[in-house]
């Protein structure tokens, strides 16, 4: 059994979004999906070294999709109704879909609502049992000021990502990011 390593990791926050260039449809995504996608892009991992169906995605969202749910609920009385696009993001797992589409990753995925403490264990487990060769792990902490006021927690908007993979001959570690 080859060793499983954390190949790359990064953290991004809301201030980095305006300069992000991840395709013409990036602006359509909700905040959680934009940050998650930017975090994964910032890993600069060479996903093409793997077959797309051998890369999994594990995502944890500390507050689920509550920030987007709240925005959707607030917009329900607007003329024409709330935004259909916003509706598509009222699922905590929506960011997984965006990551999968953007990076053409078709392996299995898992979504957790809550902290990210299980992410690495689940990713490692999927790799160890041979289900996948690598896994993108993303932890999103998105609490808008409006939601923060409602649930009495600090507002936050950031996402962290890591790329775990089984070491093998077709794989080289990224300098400066090896564990």
């Amino acid at each position: 059994m080859n060793k499983i390593s954390e190949i790359a990791k990064c953290v991004v926050d809301e201030t980095q979004l305006p300069s992000a260039r991840l395709g013409p449809r990036f602006g359509r995504l909700d905040l959680q999906s934009r940050l998650a996608l930017l975090a994964v892009a910032s890993l600069q991992a060479d996903f093409e070294k793997f077959s797309g169906d051998r890369i999994g995605i594990c995502l944890a969202a500390s507050a689920g999709s509550l920030t987007t749910d709240l925005n959707f609920w607030k917009s329900r009385k607007e003329t024409g109704g709330p935004s259909p696009t916003l509706f598509a993001y009222t699922l905590p797992s929506a960011a997984i879909g965006e990551i999968a589409i953007h990076f053409k990753l078709t392996g299995p995925n898992l979504c957790f609502v809550g902290d990210g403490k299980n992410l690495f264990a689940e990713a490692t487990d999927m790799i160890s049992c041979g289900e996948i060769d690598a896994c993108v792990c993303v932890f999103c902490e998105i609490v808008s000021p409006g939601l923060a006021e409602m649930i009495s927690v600090p507002a936050v908007a950031k996402a962290s990502a890591a790329f775990l993979a089984r070491e093998s001959n077709h794989f080289s570690t990224v300098p400066g990011n090896s564990p």
């Binding site: 260039r21 395709g23 013409p24 449809r25 990036f26 602006g27 359509r28 607007e78 003329t79 024409g80 109704g81 935004s83 259909p84 696009t85 598509a88």
Partner: protein, 89 residues
């Protein structure tokens, strides 16, 4: 048709860009006659729903029958013509 009923394709394109949050695309880059969906601007089914909402919010036009709206959503030009026709009706 009364000039007041006409809809500027440039104005419509700007509204589409804002409504669909299209990044790094200007009205000048959108061909009036290019398909909105699939090829051309490459919009999808969620964008179609967003355009339906746009018509109601910006022009007060409610599309109840999707078959009625389908020909209008071919291009910016057909959409502008549809809006003008609805305003004139």
């Amino acid at each position: 048709m009364d000039a007041a009923m006409q809809v500027s394709t440039r104005e419509l394109k700007q509204k589409i860009i804002e409504s669909l949050k299209l990044q790094d695309i200007t009205p000048d880059q959108i061909d009036d006659e290019a398909p909105l969906f699939g090829t051309g601007l490459g919009l999808d089914s969620i964008d179609a729903l967003e355009l339906v909402v746009l018509l109601e919010k910006e022009y007060g036009i409610v599309i109840k029958d999707i078959e009625e709206g389908r020909p209008a959503f071919r291009s910016v030009k057909t959409l502008a013509e549809f809006i003008a026709a609805k305003r004139a009706a």
